[in-house]
Amino acid sequence: VNPSTAIANPSAPTLKSGSELERILAAGHFAVTAELGPPRGCDAASVRRKAKILKGSVDAANVTDNQAAVVRMSSIATGLLMLAEGLEPVIQMTCRDRNRLAMQSDLLGAAAHGLRNLLCLSGDHQSKGDHPGAKNVHDIDSIQLVAMVRAMRDESHYQNGEQIPGGGPRIFIGAVENPFADPAAMRPYRLRKKALAGADFIQTQLVYDLPRFRDFMKRVVDLGVHEQVKILAGVGPLKSPGAARYMRQNVPGMSVPEAIEARMEAAVKGIAADDKAARTRAWREEGKRICVELIQQIREIEGVAGVHVMAIEWEEAVPEIVKAAGLLPRPLAAA
């Protein structure tokens, strides 16, 4: 698919943005997105290399926005490099770094350049990042950002209510939800709030804890939220048992069952402790296998419309996982 053609001629008038991701979800296909971490410098080649790896295996790829509050190449600039490679970007935008003026002007610019997907987030707190002395913004929150973008697109007005000359940006609006954070009782309602604000799709935090995710989805389905918004479950391959342990102990709002860590440990059984290369290989293979199995089980859960495969700095794993999960070829890539 030539992205510029795809954007210039959205296939159906009912589409809100005409993005590939929107068309795939609207057609009822099980969507696959991935994540592309921008470089810490100005290295465009690394973006092109990662885009080439992901292209054809996913419908679109998220570009993180100063993820973990660490300065990286801007999401929109990285997205343009991806677009030129034929990989559709999902621009991430946090409320931490921009006020409503900056957000709106960036969105006008992004849309002018043919970017069609946006993911709205609060953003990791800057105290965890590389500029802990920075001032944060939080002029509006992530749900208010969703509402603002929806009004820009559907009503062609700025957040202040004034008309946008020539009409607003056509953007497919995403938001996130963490099924494992607290207060657990509020989470499905908060997700519904995002749908009411105008979110078209949701990407969740990494799912390793299937029982808890099933329970969350059941409550979401009971509220009928899955009919208002397309929900993509977050998955990702583990690199080692240590990674599982680290996430469980140190990342607030993450749930990684001990059984998964134990399975990662068992993957190196019989391999000499000093054969580090063989152990790494075995762990990574097991990490990918677990990820594939999770995708297959998640696919069976009512209300799940796709998966978001997060393998930051391990983009090579994504095509293998998507293929092994039986999700290739991608609908539009095959067209």
Binding site: C95, S122, H138, Q144, A147, P183, P252, G253
Partner: protein
């Protein structure tokens, strides 16, 4: 109350380095209650400065004063004769007190001995916590009496971020998650439905973002006085 902490002795000593005669001025209100700038703290600081200077083989004259409220002219005006006799005034008031002294005594250097932190309360013996940022447009009726502007690290208006775990904030486990508290209060008070409504983008113009703030109460003005002149 306004909660403040004293600067380090080294930092204060450096500030007064060039001065031989200093008047330390405590404040009898908020900073007395939070044990940072009352009479006792002022006396301790004055003695420490004298001792430090003497250990360094130099001398300094630090005299002591306390006013009931450093943020009101009628209390600080009582110092006007004394102030003239010093090279500098070292204020143990909050930032408001320091500026009030500077404004009232334009010919005198006024130095801050405290770092002013927040509007808050003593939550436990020896512990102070922030409660209000003075945003100028209170929404506590909608959030069960817990302020997300002040107590949520990301100032969220529509529920918790993804980093809330076991009632704690992702920034630091010692910080309670404001939205966890709001949710629990709402459950207890049967107000959960109110949290389902979309809170619109806040108008920050009543906050510091609108520029330095000022209110004029016409009902309290002296007849004939002109509003707007300093």
């Amino acid at each position: 109350m306004i909660v403040a902490e004293r600067k380090s002795l080294d930092a204060i000593s450096k500030m007064v380095e060039a001065h031989g005669k200093v008047l330390a001025v405590g404040c009898g209100t908020c900073v007395t209650v939070c044990f940072s700038g009352g009479q006792k703290e002022m006396q301790t600081l004055a003695a420490s400065l004298r001792m430090k200077r003497s250990l360094e083989g130099k001398s300094i004259e630090v005299d002591e004063a306390v006013v009931q409220r450093q943020c009101e002219w009628e209390y600080i005006d009582a110092l006007s004769d004394r102030v003239k006799r010093y090279d500098a005034v070292l204020s143990l008031g909050c930032g408001v007190g320091v500026q009030a002294l500077a404004e009232r005594f334009p010919g005198t250097r006024v130095l801050p001995a405290l770092n002013t932190l927040f509007m808050g309360l003593p939550s436990e013996q020896g512990v102070w916590e922030e409660r209000c940022q003075g945003c100028g447009n209170c929404i506590l009726d909608k959030t069960g009496g817990v302020c997300p502007v002040t107590r949520c690290a990301k100032q969220l208006f529509n529920g918790p971020c993804g980093g809330s775990q076991n009632g704690r904030c992702e920034v630091d486990k010692s910080i309670p998650c404001a939205w966890n508290m709001i949710w629990e209060r709402a459950e207890a008070l049967g107000m959960v439905e109110a949290l389902m409504e979309l809170a619109p983008a806040k108008d920050w113009s009543t906050s510091r973002d609108g520029g330095p703030r000022r209110i004029v109460r016409a009902d309290l003005r002296t007849p004939g006085e002109k509003e707007g002149t300093p």
